[in-house]
């Protein structure tokens, strides 16, 4: 139990730093940034209480917000993602989730990509809608969501594969 908590705390701090120090400043083609801190929410232990996940996600989003002066947009998006996570897990992993036996390091890659893609798109859409906050700029929201999602999904999948030890 303690080692799981330790891993998650380390992951929280590392992903936060990686996000605010590097990923917020990539600005590929002027505006495309990956938001990789959501990997933390994706990989949060499934058996843990959902309330804990909601609170920790809020905290993580708030930290990113403080660093990037964005009010509460990351917090709102992260909390929504955390809330929607069981539905995403159920739709991408099916039976495995119902038996509570998912191990992210051993699941097959297709389900993992579905899970991450769905979550990323939801998170980014809420993030950019709140950030732009103007219904007449809906095209800009969709455009940013699309391109940033592609970037985030690619990086997230790579990072998860890279740091999971016993994948065949």
């Amino acid at each position: 139990m303690n080692s799981i908590a330790g891993i998650n705390i380390v992951r929280f701090v590392l992903l936060l730093l990686l996000q605010v120090v590097i990923c917020n400043h990539i600005d590929f083609l002027g505006y495309i940034n990956p938001y990789i801190y959501i990997i933390f929410i994706f990989l949060f232990p499934i058996r843990e209480d959902r309330l804990v996940l909601l609170l920790v996600s809020f905290l993580l989003g708030m930290m990113v917000d403080i660093f990037s002066d964005s009010g509460g947009v990351h917090a709102a998006a992260a909390v929504s993602l955390a809330y929607a996570r069981p539905i995403l897990l159920k739709s991408s992993f099916g039976m495995l989730y119902e038996h509570q036996t998912i191990k992210f390091s051993t699941t097959d890659i297709g389900s993992l990509i579905t899970y991450i893609s769905l979550g990323t798109v939801i998170h980014h859409f809420i993030l950019f809608s709140l950030e732009i906050f103007n219904i007449s700029n809906i095209l800009l929201v969709l455009q940013k969501t699309l391109f940033s999602s592609i970037f985030t999904i690619l990086l997230s999948v790579l990072i998860i594969i890279l740091f999971s030890r016993n994948r065949k």
Partner: protein, 273 residues
């Protein structure tokens, strides 16, 4: 009563989600109004420390460009110095009146941002260097924005690349004024709105600060006109302005304090009443 408790316990996840989401939403809405982003901003000890460490590493990578910019600015200043000493009619300028109206502080940019629609920058000077809200920020090329929040050692700048930002500007060749805004699309272009239809506008003309707001002195360069169109009402022009500053590449900035600002404001307040 029992039922209420049962309801709360049954829906505790949803209720917590709702609570956290509304907090985040409230903070977001608050941050969308000018000068209200009080609690969540990067002018604090923690973020300033992280960005400071990052900046001290980052600085080495563009020493050469920084040098070039400095040399170019030195050249400009020298040019101005020589030209004024020749043409200045010293009897005309009342030095006790014009001298030292602006105090200039040099600051390093700790966090730049230009990809969002509400861009806010962080500088490494704060209250300890007597930086306050509503001071102007510029580089040698032109204006950057206005100081928004300050902590003891850091301050945040409301960039001109922020949809909330509105800065008084004018066309250099005439005295027609407008307000400088940003549509959130490209970090290279800003918009000058509400320019009267009587103004003679040519593509390529220079836009500079208007000096009406007592934040910036008159005549600091902003950019050049690339295109313009009439408003729907037909009374005013909206002008596309290409910035002199490359907002994606800023190192050192100058903070301007107008020492007469309090005086000007109290005078204007009297008129309003």
């Amino acid at each position: 009563m029992q039922q209420i408790f049962n309801f709360v316990i049954k829906n505790k996840t949803f209720l917590l989600f709702l609570l956290l989401f509304s907090i985040a939403l409230a903070l977001t809405i608050q941050s969308h109004s000018y000068h209200r982003s009080k609690f969540i901003n990067s002018a604090n000890f923690l973020t300033g420390g992280v960005y400071g460490t990052m900046n001290s590493v980052d600085q080495y990578f563009d020493l050469k460009t920084t040098n070039d910019i400095l040399t170019e600015e030195n050249r400009l200043l020298r040019e101005q110095l020589f030209n004024t000493s020749v043409t200045k009619d010293s009897s005309y300028i009342d030095s006790s009146y014009t001298k030292g109206q602006y105090r200039i502080t040099i600051a390093d940019l700790y966090k730049n941002s230009y990809s969002s629609t509400n861009n806010i920058l962080t500088l490494n000077k704060g209250k300890n260097d007597s930086i306050k809200q509503d001071f102007g920020v510029m580089t040698s090329n032109g204006i950057i924005g206005i100081i928004d929040n300050t902590s003891n050692n850091y301050s945040t700048v409301l960039s001109i690349l922020n949809v909330k930002s509105q800065i008084n500007a004018k066309i250099k060749s005439t005295n027609h004024i407008g307000s400088l805004t940003w549509d959130g699309k490209s970090p290279i272009y800003v918009q000058l709105e509400d320019v009267s239809q009587f103004a003679p506008i040519k593509v390529g003309d220079t836009i500079q600060t208007g000096g009406e707001s007592s934040i910036f002195p008159k005549g600091i360069g902003i950019g050049t006109i690339t295109s313009f169109e009439s408003d729907i009402s037909g009374d005013t022009y909206t002008i596309q302005v290409k910035l002199f500053n490359d907002m994606t590449n800023i190192g050192t900035v100058y903070i301007l304090e107008n020492l007469d600002r309090a005086e000007i404001q109290s005078l204007e307040k009297n008129i309003d009443e």
